[in-house]
């Protein structure tokens, strides 16, 4: 009676070991687990998002972006959990699922020029850099913006250009506009009209909209020849989006 039991336990251990063995050790393995989690959640939220799964290119971009480089050293052990993490200044690096969702909603193509408002740690811009031709990103808080820029340089992301400043008016160098996609990672009580102006016809703007400092709704705005179309996706919570006046 005991022999089959021992055999069963042995086989179980072997199977677990084999399963672990299929995955690389270290952060790459954790990243693959994280992507599995995101896939599951993408299916769970398909009713709201209208997407059964995200594009393989989105997952590929996530695989190329080591998240632990974008979180504070003290929290690196948590970098591959599907959760937001504090990055200081009352800000957080978004939950990886939200990063994947926003990236997927933007539907970036290889020749696209993308604008991101709210650089934060730089993780979202880094993910986008693997999909788009050029990524422009603006951050309000000096220290966050400067730290993110250094991370881009360290990671060799040459197609990402960061600036510290106000995102309300979009990218200050108007010659770069219009953009194929604009992604806002800060909450807004309204959609800033200048951002819509910097969006190409047919382009997509992904933005959390709602009361500042409360739950907002991730919204996709598509610019058309006739005007704009909007679709609310999911409730989220982002830090507020402020904007400077043109003087």
């Amino acid at each position: 009676m005991t022999k089959p039991l021992i055999l069963l336990i042995y086989i179980s251990f072997a199977l677990v070991a084999a399963d672990k063995g299929a995955r690389p050790l270290g952060w790459e393995g954790e990243l693959m687990d994280l992507i599995d989690t995101i896939r599951q959640e993408a299916r769970l939220t398909s009713y709201s998002t209208g997407r059964g799964d995200f594009a393989e290119s989105t997952y590929a971009a996530l695989r190329k972006t080591p998240r632990h480089l974008f979180v504070p050293p003290a929290l690196r052990a948590l970098a591959y959990f599907d959760q937001p993490l504090p990055i200081g200044y009352g800000q957080t690096i978004s939950q990886p699922y939200i990063v994947a969702l926003m990236t997927d909603l933007l539907e970036v193509k290889a020749y696209d020029r993308v604008l991101e408002i709210g650089t934060g740690s730089g993780y979202q811009a880094a993910v986008l850099s693997h999909l788009a031709k050029e990524v422009y990103t603006i951050e309000i808080i000096d220290k966050l913006g400067e730290a993110a820029q250094k991370r881009f340089e360290d990671a060799g992301l040459k197609n990402v250009l960061g600036k510290v400043g106000d995102g309300y008016y979009g990218w200050p160098d108007k010659s770069k506009a219009p953009f194929d996609g604009i992604l806002v990672t800060a909450a807004a009580s309204h959609i800033p009209p200048p951002l819509l102006k910097q969006l190409k016809v047919g382009g997509r703007l992904v933005i959390p909209v709602g009361p500042p400092f409360q739950t907002q709704y991730l919204t996709v705005v598509t610019k058309t020849e006739k005007g704009v179309e909007t679709k609310r996706i999911l409730p989220v919570q982002f830090v507020p989006f402020t904007g400077a006046i043109n003087e």
Binding site: P86, Q91, D166, S189, H190, L196, Y217, T230, T242
Partner: protein, 782 residues
């Protein structure tokens, strides 16, 4: 001997002052502040003081009593400041409760740190009673009068001092108590000197405001470069901060049309308690600055009724007033609970369009409730949660919002002139929550064919008239088309949540409401919790959806309440019950039935006392519209009344037959409780017409008799079991304390879900059960 009573008076006063000041301070530094949690903290400190003193019984006889009291009062003073400073170092983000364990650790530390000053206060009062048992009634009396005065002190301190200084003032009261009681001359000298230093700090012109968690909106705003606080005003009501972000100004235009191509003018940020945000829009003086108003749904009622006589509920940052001025209204009245907000906005340098002009603004009534006794009528009544939330000063989503209740909606309708319009602007949540509650109230109050719902991307405007809106149909349609706003009701050939609620089939409506993920119960004066839409079944729903934070169907403040309940349970087990277990559990020798009766009795009276106290405070928030005043009046009345009752209980306990007297007492208590429940509900309608101060007297006059009766049961119970063994007394304190710690939070949850009357009645029923158990307690003693 006299200085012992003076000491007890002082330290009790200091303790209650600290408790109420803590309520204001936590509202400023933390994301969510709930009065039940702070009362729970205080009760926890008192509870584990009882357990601690059980260990010190032998020590009492040998120690110099006055030194012992002096040390404890000094420790209160030190810990009241240090423990608060300690908790401000925790970067507490309540939203993180959904995905991380760190907030639970912080909550645990909050409970440990903030209950410590109450522990020292309790040590002082309990030890004074132990040291002078023959003068127990005088010690108790000093304790009660001191606590009663503490409520008043806290209110005065918060009115005249910055919140941080009010904390120092509470600590100073502890130092003064130390000076009174210390037997050492050197101690007196040092105490007086340190007290003088604290006093200098309190009266110094420089303000001290505690730093908040970096997740509070004001703290987040301050991280933006070149942001500064331009002006700040603090009172018992709230802390108001006007913030300028020079490099990157605020831009707040809820509901702004996607077709608007202009620029929103510069704004300042107005933060209430570092949390609720409003914009104070500046401008260069030109009309073009205000063109953006034309592209928000909120301007629709003003377009439909030109040259109107307008009533607005809630001032916010004054943008609603500017909107009305932009549309040339002929008369404007603003109802705002916090008069200081008028003064604050009025005192700002009018370099931009003044927030309001004397010629238009009528003398504001204090409270929306005052409209119930008014005869005035208006062409437009506007209630906006986006620009001028009338509930901004209460602080939490769990608080009452009297302006958004069925009774007030009926009043708004009564105050409308013929052809008048009632407008409500709300955030457009997805799935809809508050807007559906408001819509249900509109359907209950106004004719369906005169009601309208339109949405922008961010907001919902509900419009209701006294007569059908047929004549305005074309203008409404054109306005919506110009701005990409959608009409959600009336809607032909399609359905949505608004049309489903408006259908005639009541059974179908009922089914829809039951199945909806959020609670759509219509708020009323009994349960005025408009902003809380969490269902009690949320845990089950959440577990069924894989405990995914994305599907968490409750508000953060509400979940924080449950987390606090969990932590209160952990702390009361760890600090009150477990320490007592090795000391005396083996010495409780009675039949299981008697022990059960013992546990039921002391749990029941602990539960009922606190639940009634919290439920009444919740009701007072509705009546007074001010949390600190409600808490001060509520706690002081219950403490003074309950203490006087406890003094009277000694005489009653000696009367025979005791069982008959005891049962009689509980019957009278429940009967008067019923009267109070009815009277407080009725007071909401009549109190606003009382002269100033009379409403407070009426409230105190109603509460104190009940509190007096509620002071009896504990003393009656203790006197009966004390004959059996002193260990029963320790356990009675511990059980009563632990249940009280939990009940203060349970009461809050109860009023949120079941309303004042049900919660209050449940507590009275439990009191009655305690009364039935009282005769069995005699068996333990015999």
């Amino acid at each position: 001997m006299n200085r012992l009573f003076l000491f007890v008076f002082g330290i009790s006063c200091a303790g209650l002052t600290y408790e109420i000041v803590l309520f204001r301070l936590l509202a400023i530094v933390q994301e969510s502040s709930v009065i039940g949690v702070i009362i729970s903290l205080a009760l926890l400190g008192f509870g584990y003081s009882g357990s601690f003193l059980s260990y010190l019984k032998k020590f009492h006889d040998k120690a110099d009593p006055f030194s012992f009291l002096a040390y404890n009062s000094l420790l209160f003073s030190i810990s009241s400041v240090l423990s608060f400073l300690l908790v401000t170092t925790f970067d507490y983000n309540p939203n993180e409760l959904l995905w991380g364990w760190r907030p639970l650790l912080y909550l645990f530390l909050y409970f440990c740190a903030l209950s410590l000053p109450f522990f020292f206060v309790s040590n002082c009062i309990n030890l004074a009673m132990v040291f002078r048992p023959e003068q127990l009634h005088r010690v108790y009396f000093s304790d009660l009068v001191g606590a009663g005065l503490g409520g008043l002190c806290a209110f005065v301190f918060l009115e005249i001092l910055a919140p941080g200084k009010a904390l120092a003032a509470a600590s100073l009261l502890g130092v003064l108590s130390f000076v009174v009681i210390t037997p050492l001359n050197l101690g007196k000298l040092l105490g007086a000197f340190s007290g003088f230093l604290v006093f200098l700090f309190v009266i110094s012109p420089k303000d001290w405001s505690p730093s908040s968690t970096s997740y509070k909106p004001l703290a987040k705003a301050m991280f933006v470069p070149e942001t500064r606080v331009l002006a700040e005003s603090s009172s018992a009501y709230a802390q108001i901060s006007l913030v300028e972000s020079a490099r990157i100004p605020f831009r707040y235009a809820p509901g702004l049309s996607l077709y608007f191509e202009g620029v929103v003018p510069k704004q300042w940020g107005l933060f209430i308690n570092g949390g609720t945000f409003f914009a104070v829009t500046q401008g260069s003086g030109g009309e073009e600055d205000w063109q953006y108003f034309e592209h928000t749904p909120e301007s629709l009622p003003y377009k439909l009724r030109e040259k109107a006589k307008v009533l607005q509920v809630g001032l916010g940052g004054g943008d609603l007033v500017r909107l009305a001025r932009f549309h040339n209204v002929t008369s404007l009245t603003v109802v705002e609970r916090n008069r200081k907000l008028f003064d604050f906005l009025g005192s700002l340098e009018p370099a931009f369009m003044p927030p309001f002009g004397e010629e238009m603004l009528h003398s504001p009534p204090d409270s929306p409730l005052s409209l119930m006794g008014s005869e005035a009528s208006y062409d437009i009544i506007h209630l906006s949660d986006t620009l001028g939330s009338p509930s901004a000063f209460l602080g939490s989503q769990n608080d009452s919002q009297e302006a958004f209740t069925l009774e007030m909606f009926q009043t708004y309708r009564e105050r409308l002139a013929p052809g008048g319009l009632f407008a409500i602007s709300l955030w457009n949540h997805f799935p809809a929550k508050e807007s559906l509650k408001a819509w249900r109230m509109i359907l209950d109050t106004f004719p369906r064919d005169s009601s309208l719902v339109i949405e922008s991307l961010q907001t919902v405007l509900i419009l209701a008239g006294t007569s059908p809106l047929r004549e305005e149909e074309q203008r409404i349609e054109s306005f919506c088309n110009r701005n990409a706003f959608r009409v959600l009701y009336p809607l032909e050939g399609a359905s949505n949540v608004y049309t489903l609620l408006a259908q005639e089939n009541e059974e179908a409506v009922h089914e829809f409401v039951e199945a909806y993920p959020f609670d759509l119960t219509v708020p009323n004066f009994d349960s005025p919790h408009f902003l809380n839409s969490s269902k009690l079944s949320f845990f089950g729903d959440w577990v069924r959806k894989g405990m995914n934070p994305r599907f968490f169907p409750v508000e953060a403040d509400y979940f924080h309440l449950w987390a606090s309940l969990f932590m209160a349970a952990i702390c009361s087990i760890l600090f009150i019950l477990l320490p007592l277990w090795p000391l005396s559990h083996a010495r409780l020798k009675a039949s299981p039935g008697s022990l059960l009766a013992f546990a039921i009795y002391f749990s029941a009276i602990g539960f009922s006392f606190i639940v009634i106290e919290i439920a009444v405070i919740e009701k007072l928030k509705l009546l007074l519209g001010q949390s600190v005043l409600a808490v001060s009046i509520g706690i002081s009345s219950f403490l003074v009344g309950g203490g006087l009752g406890a003094l009277g209980a000694k005489k009653l306990a000696s009367k025979e037959p005791a069982t008959v007297w005891g049962l009689g007492l509980f019957t009278v208590l429940c009967a008067y409780g019923g009267v109070l429940c009815f009277a407080l509900s009725a007071l909401a309608r009549v109190a606003p017409s009382f002269p100033p101060g009379v409403d407070l007297l009426a409230i105190v006059g109603l509460i104190v008799p009940l509190a007096f009766l509620m002071g009896f049961p504990f003393v009656l119970g203790i006197q009966r079991i004390a004959e059996a063994s002193s260990h029963y007394v320790s356990w009675a304190w511990a059980i009563n304390g632990s249940v009280s710690v939990l009940s203060s939070i349970l009461a809050q949850i109860g009023t949120l879900h079941f309303g004042f009357t049900v919660t209050f009645s449940a507590a009275l029923t439990v009191y009655f059960i305690a009364g039935c158990v009282l005769p069995i307690l005699r068996k333990i003693s015999s």
